[in-house]
Each structure stands twice: as structure tokens, then as C-alpha cells.
């Protein structure tokens, strides 16, 4: 029995055996093999067995179906063929390893594939995919700010230091024991404001006991801080800068 392996770039998304029943391919959820992408027609193509041969037929799709780079209408498929639909690829192979995959050591009966089962991207493919994603992420990062130290400079009011380098993922401004920027005075709030660092190294300010303002605007939702922003809360003013 043949199987179809749906891939996107280097990631394996799905594997499906083709038995006596045909497999329809398209964007519409009624298809046997759904490819959710605007480049794919709702009913794009089908794969079916005819007299022991595996056939592929394009349903006159808008963007076409390609086998090994050639646009096709109806062809016989053989193991190793690569079917191109939009940016996705379907590789044709023997389904031996699919059975093996489902049953582990091969002694158990293959479990029926469950719909919507959570799966991992295949590990080797995944590593390549993640590397690629990481590369994209790196290149789109604003490089200069990453090398600089995010710092709060006290412009107005009484605190325990006149400057704070933000090294932690969580920075609290208030009277609380865990506060980095310590407020003084009887009625100072325990935790007025929190600043959190996210995984992309950006810093977000959010309200705690008090609603702070940044450049005169009240902060009702967590908001990203930029160099030069003036934070005002509980009687103090701080400037957020990226220091060299």
C-alpha cells in the first residue's frame, strides 16, 4: 500500500495511507487530505488506485498540481514522486513505515489514526525548521537594543537609588520587599507597577496597585517600553533608556 506524506518546507505535517478508497486533496475540510492554505483550491486533486496503479488527478485547480516539477492533469504515481500543491509537497512512498510507526515494535495491531490527535513535528525536520525560524527571528531583531542595558533613571521623587539596571525578568516598583525600585513614605503602594521582560527581550510595563502613565498617557494594558519613555507613578518619574 502506498502512503502520502504531506510536507511544508522541511516539516512533515501528516502521513496518510491510500487504500482502495480514493484520497481527495484540497482546502475544504471535507477532503481526505486537507491543506489549509489560500494557494490550494477547495477541491484541488485526488489520488486513487486503479488496476493496481496509483493515480493522481488534478480537478482543474487554479494554481495547478505538479509532479516532480511538471504541471499535470492525470498521471500515474510511483514511490519517490514529489507532488507540489501550492507551497506544500506530498511525497509518495510505500506505507511499510507508517504501519511500523503506529504499532511501535510491529507486534501490536496498528492503532487506527485518530483525528485531531496532537502530534510533534518530526524531530529531525523540526530541528531544521526551528533553526530556520530562529534565523528569521534573529535577522528581524533590532540588534542595537539587545547589546545595551535597559535602565530606569530617576528623574523626580524619592527612591533608594538614582538608577536601576533592569537585569531581571520581573521588576517591581513599590514598597514591597521584592520591589527593585523601592518607594519611600507611609502611604506608598506595596507594588505600584510591574515591568516584565519577554522572550524577545522587549520590556512591558503594566498596572499593579496603580495605573502608571507613560509620556502622559495612562497605561491600561501592558505596553512595550521604548528608549526615552517617561514613566510617572506614585509621585515619582522615571526615564526608561537603553544604556551602552
Amino acid at each position: 500500500m502506498a502512503k502520502l506524506v504531506l510536507k511544508f518546507e522541511n516539516s512533515v505535517l501528516k502521513e496518510m495511507a491510500v487504500g482502495s478508497k480514493e484520497v481527495s486533496i484540497g482546502r475544504s475540510p471535507e477532503n481526505g487530505l486537507v491543506i489549509d492554505n489560500p494557494a490550494v483550491s477547495h477541491y484541488h486533486a485526488r489520488v486513487f488506485n486503479e488496476e493496481g496503479r496509483l493515480m493522481l488527478e488534478d480537478f482543474g485547480s487554479m494554481n495547478g498540481t505538479f509532479v516532480n516539477g511538471q504541471r499535470v492533469k492525470m498521471v500515474t504515481l510511483k514511490p519517490g514522486d514529489s507532488v507540489g500543491i501550492g507551497k506544500h509537497t506530498i511525497v509518495v512512498s510505500e506505507s511499510r513505515d507508517l504501519d511500523g510507526f503506529a504499532s511501535g515494535n510491529g507486534s501490536a495491531k496498528p492503532a487506527a489514526p485518530k483525528i485531531n490527535e496532537t502530534v510533534m513535528l518530526d524531530t529531525k525536520e523540526r530541528r531544521e525548521f526551528l533553526q530556520k525560524v530562529a534565523a528569521v527571528g534573529e535577522s528581524s531583531q533590532v540588534a542595537p537594543s539587545r547589546l545595551k542595558v535597559p535602565t530606569l533613571i530617576v528623574r523626580k521623587g524619592r527612591t533608594n537609588q538614582c538608577e536601576y539596571a533592569l537585569n531581571d525578568k520581573l521588576t517591581v516598583i513599590g514598597k514591597s520587599g521584592m520591589a527593585t525600585v523601592k518607594l519611600k513614605g507611609w502611604f506608598a503602594p506595596k507594588a505600584a507597577v510591574q515591568i516584565t521582560r519577554r522572550d524577545d527581550h522587549s520590556y512591558y510595563i503594566g498596572a499593579a496597585d496603580k495605573v502608571p502613565s507613560v509620556n502622559g498617557q495612562p497605561i491600561l494594558h501592558p505596553t512595550i517600553l521604548s528608549s526615552g519613555d517617561i514613566i510617572a507613578v506614585a509621585g515619582i518619574e522615571l526615564e526608561f533608556v537603553y544604556r551602552d
Binding site: 511501535g104 523540526r126 525578568k169 516584565t196
Partner: protein
């Protein structure tokens, strides 16, 4: 600091077994939830191993703070956060080893979300597509970022949020416990204020209900156990296509005495 909590787990309306697990340790203010995957019963095994290992390692670290961490220390976060991340890395090793040994358990893995509160500092750690949300006043925020294929596509601008919501690839993860010998754990820290409500949930909840629906329930309900039950009921009414598990916690407000009330009045007018 007093934390009230509630939890509810349900197989849902479609699946035959519940592959979700959760554990709560009130004396440590530790809350852990895991969603298992893999054929036969390996999903259930994976999620139970994950939550039990996280608990065991956190307890050990609590008793003996000089225990070495599994993996590298993360800079800029507390010891408790590092212990939590370390416990999750250990859980990964345990699930991975079990998956390698057991027959018919290929594809075995699990997500994990965990919260530990030490004073007002809340450590948040996760791997996979289970989520943690916080409601503070009217502000509802997702504190975790899904390690799923579609979420990564959205973050890198290759897919819109709408495309992701209707994608057939929602079930594809890029990070989970038990898949590789080591795993990267995302850790962040948040402030836990009085009356903050925090929700840990498996994707069985978020596939059925929108953020707005979830936020509304968290905002309306007073008692965490009632909130948990209501969320699970709503997810089942909406289809219940997957196992649904939620853990809800809320930092209780201190009873307000006369002097404190005067203090508050002063603060407001300040």
C-alpha cells in the same frame, strides 16, 4: 498570602480516555497541569509522569535548596523559578526515558504548564500548547506563548491569527516533553496581586472557547472551584472535542480593618 483554588478535569464528549493530568500542592502554592499525547494509553502515562515528576523535584528542592539544578541556571529569575524550570527538565527526561523503553509508545509526549507563588512573585513555566492566563481587574492576559506550529507561524508573520484559528495544523507542536533528551523550558515571572485570578488550562478549553468567553467567566465567578466547573461545562457544551482540564487560582484579598481602610482612603486621595 492566601491563595484559593479550584480544579476540574473532564474526558470531553468525543475522546474515550482523559490524557490530561493536574496536581495542586497548596502548602507550596504549586499548580501543575499536563496534556499527554501518544497512542494507546501512553498519553495518560506521559501526563501523569510529567506532573508527578515536577511535584517530586520541587519538593526535593524545597527540602534541600543546595540540590544541583537539572540544566543551566536562568539569569534574572528567582531560585524558585529556577527550581521549577529544573523540575520540568527532569520531567522531560523521565517521559523521554519511558517513551524510549516502552514498546508501542513512540509519539509519547506531554505539554506542561506550572505556576509557583513565593510571596507575591509568581513563577510561570511551560512547554507545549497548554496555557496560563491572568485576569487583573478588566485586563485579561495570556502569560504563555504556545509552542505550536501555527503560533510560531503567526509570531513570524507567516500566518494571520484568523488563519491560525481555522488551520488544520493546530494540533502540531514544535516543543513538548518526552520527545528529545533535553528540552528548553520557557520561564517568566509575574506579580500576583490581591484579587488576581490565574487560569491554567489544556487546549481542550481554548479550542472550544474564545478568550473573551473565558475572561467573562473568570470575571463573573467568585469561587475558584465554581469557576473551574463552569469553564469545563461550557467547553463541553461547545463540543468538547478534546479532554478539558482547568486549574483556577486566586489570591484572596486581606480582610480590611478599620485602620487599613483609613490608610486606603489616604492613598486614594494622595
Amino acid at each position: 498570602m492566601e491563595i484559593e483554588f479550584g480544579a476540574q478535569s473532564d474526558t470531553g464528549c468525543v475522546r474515550e480516555n482523559n490524557e490530561d493530568s493536574y496536581r495542586v500542592v497548596p502548602e507550596m502554592n504549586l499548580f501543575v497541569l499536563s496534556d499527554g499525547m501518544g497512542g494507546l494509553e501512553s498519553g495518560e502515562v506521559a501526563s501523569q509522569l510529567a506532573v508527578d515528576t515536577v511535584l517530586a523535584r520541587c519538593r526535593e528542592a524545597e527540602k534541600n535548596p543546595s540540590l544541583p539544578l537539572a540544566g543551566e541556571r536562568i539569569e534574572g529569575v528567582s531560585t524558585a523559578s529556577n527550581q521549577l524550570a529544573s523540575a520540568i527538565r527532569s520531567a522531560n527526561e523521565v517521559v523521554y526515558r519511558t517513551a524510549q523503553q516502552g514498546a508501542g509508545q513512540r509519539g509519547m509526549g506531554a505539554t506542561v504548564v506550572a505556576v509557583r507563588c513565593t510571596d507575591e512573585r509568581m513563577s510561570v513555566a511551560h512547554v507545549g500548547d497548554s496555557r496560563i492566563y491572568r485576569l487583573r481587574g478588566d485586563e485579561f492576559e495570556q502569560l504563555t506563548r504556545d509552542h505550536s506550529f501555527v503560533a510560531e507561524q503567526v509570531r513570524h508573520g507567516k500566518m494571520t491569527a484568523e488563519e491560525a484559528a481555522s488551520s488544520t495544523m493546530q494540533n502540531v507542536l514544535v516543543r513538548a516533553l518526552g520527545i528529545e533528551p533535553t528540552v528548553e523550558v520557557d520561564v517568566s515571572e509575574e506579580l500576583l496581586m490581591e484579587n488576581d485570578t490565574v487560569l491554567l488550562c489544556s487546549d481542550g478549553l481554548t479550542r472550544e472557547l474564545s478568550d473573551a468567553q473565558i475572561a467573562a467567566v473568570l470575571g463573573e465567578c467568585e469561587e475558584p472551584q465554581a469557576t473551574a466547573r463552569r469553564l469545563v461545562d461550557m467547553a463541553k457544551q461547545a463540543g468538547g472535542g478534546d479532554n478539558v482540564t482547568v486549574v483556577v487560582l486566586r489570591r484572596a484579598a486581606k480582610p480590611v480593618g478599620a485602620i487599613a481602610r483609613i490608610g486606603r482612603w489616604f492613598k486614594k486621595s494622595a
